[in-house]
Amino acid sequence: MQRPRPPIAPRCAKMGWPMAVDATPSREQGRLAARLRERDPDALREVYERCGRVSFGFLVKALGDRGAAEDVQQQVFLEVWRRAPAYDPERGSLLTWVMTIARSRAIDHARRRVPEPLDPDAAASAAESGSQVESEVEALAERWRMRALLEQLPEAEAALLRLRFYGELTQSEIAAREDIPLGTVKTRMFNGLRRLREMIDAEDEG
């Protein structure tokens, strides 16, 4: 079944990305991290602006409950604020770090929903349920990991990938829609895919 086309035409005309893009170099992320360490509240607001939407989307999906996701979202950014000294931009992007915290807090929350056993014999069963919940959230987090990497691509490449994989347009359709040469679309597509692969390799090695 064909998914509805995303409402992206106005911004894609200039190859923009319809949501916050975190394609900033690590130097800028380093400055942002330094401001967090200096307890600059505006830095936290900036991090939220950059990362809040993606982390919230993940939490809504992981927890299946918007109210719970809102609650955990606040916990995540509270933790970002408090753990800022631990963030090292050299080890990964800000969004990747935020998503790591979001994953942990989602697992905590999901486990909490496992009924608490009143019978000691039920403890093993509860632990098993908790483990299953953890596996499900981990799997979802792994799929959302690609979303965090997309945020680090140059806007032009990220927008094309979105049109291709979310908008389900062919490269020719993208070229026509965006009024750019087909060769440019193919080159950006290749470059975007290759850059993603390099980021995955770098994270796996880190």
Partner: protein, 237 residues
């Protein structure tokens, strides 16, 4: 090379005509470098195809609730230093001894499931700085941390975002374990700012227990854990 790149993306996206695809696959068989390039990109395409629809268009997040210690601008708050024993508004209470069987199960077993994912952060001036996270009965925004003295005989606890205590209730800090063992470490009150800082001696090595826990207690003379936990975190990093 540009033509090859174009073909790679078209091939991976399934956009080559059948005859073009066959010719490209013959090249793959003859060119190990090209094959390696394509094989490296194939899982990237697969991951993008598997990306949940919600990930492409996440919902609008709620407004950020700024932490209590972040609302007054860059504070350059100095790191806490160890302040010695009992310098806060702390009074010690005896360990709860009996009548806890149900509580041990409800809290002890559950805590093993709840906190496993909690991380802690090494402090820059001594022992580990342990994070206390809000749990079910805690108010939104509640948080805390525990700074252990280098000898692990003392702890400095800093809490924020808690509901103020009234005339008939107070908070209690505990050490808890999975099997339900627990030790009451001390009681304290919280003012209208929702914050508290307490320093206390540790009667045992905290690492012998798994969690620090903060409960809201009623002033009813019962020394047992009320079962109303508001914050909890692991005792080791």
């Amino acid at each position: 090379m540009s033509e090859t790149r174009d073909q790679i993306s078209s091939y991976l996206l399934g956009e080559l005509e059948p005859a073009e695809a066959s010719a490209f696959e013959r090249r793959l068989g003859e060119d190990p470098a090209l094959r390696a390039e394509v094989d490296g990109l194939r899982p990237v395409v697969a991951r993008l195809e598997q990306l949940p629809e919600e990930a492409w268009a996440p919902p609008e997040p709620p407004p950020l609730q700024m932490p209590a210690d972040a609302v007054e601008g860059p504070a350059a708050k100095p790191r806490r230093a160890w302040r010695g024993w009992l310098s806060g508004a702390l009074t010690l209470r005896p360990a709860a001894a009996g009548g806890l069987a149900a509580l041990l199960l409800a809290i002890g077993v559950a805590t093993g499931l709840l906190i496993g994912g909690g991380e802690s952060v090494g402090s820059q001036d001594g022992g580990p700085d342990l994070v206390l996270n809000r749990i079910d009965d805690g108010p939104a925004g509640a948080h805390g941390d525990v700074l252990l003295g280098g000898d692990e005989q003392h702890a400095s606890v800093e809490l924020a975002g808690l509901d103020p205590t009234g005339s008939d209730n107070f908070y209690e800090l505990w050490l808890l374990d999975d099997d339900g063992r627990m030790i009451a470490l001390g009681s304290f009150r919280v003012g209208d700012d929702g914050q508290a800082e307490v320093d206390l001696p540790l009667p045992v090595e905290p690492s012998r227990y798994r969690y620090f826990d903060v409960s809201l207690q009623q002033d009813n003379g019962d020394p047992a854990h009320s079962g109303v936990s508001v914050l909890r975190g692991p005792t080791s990093s």
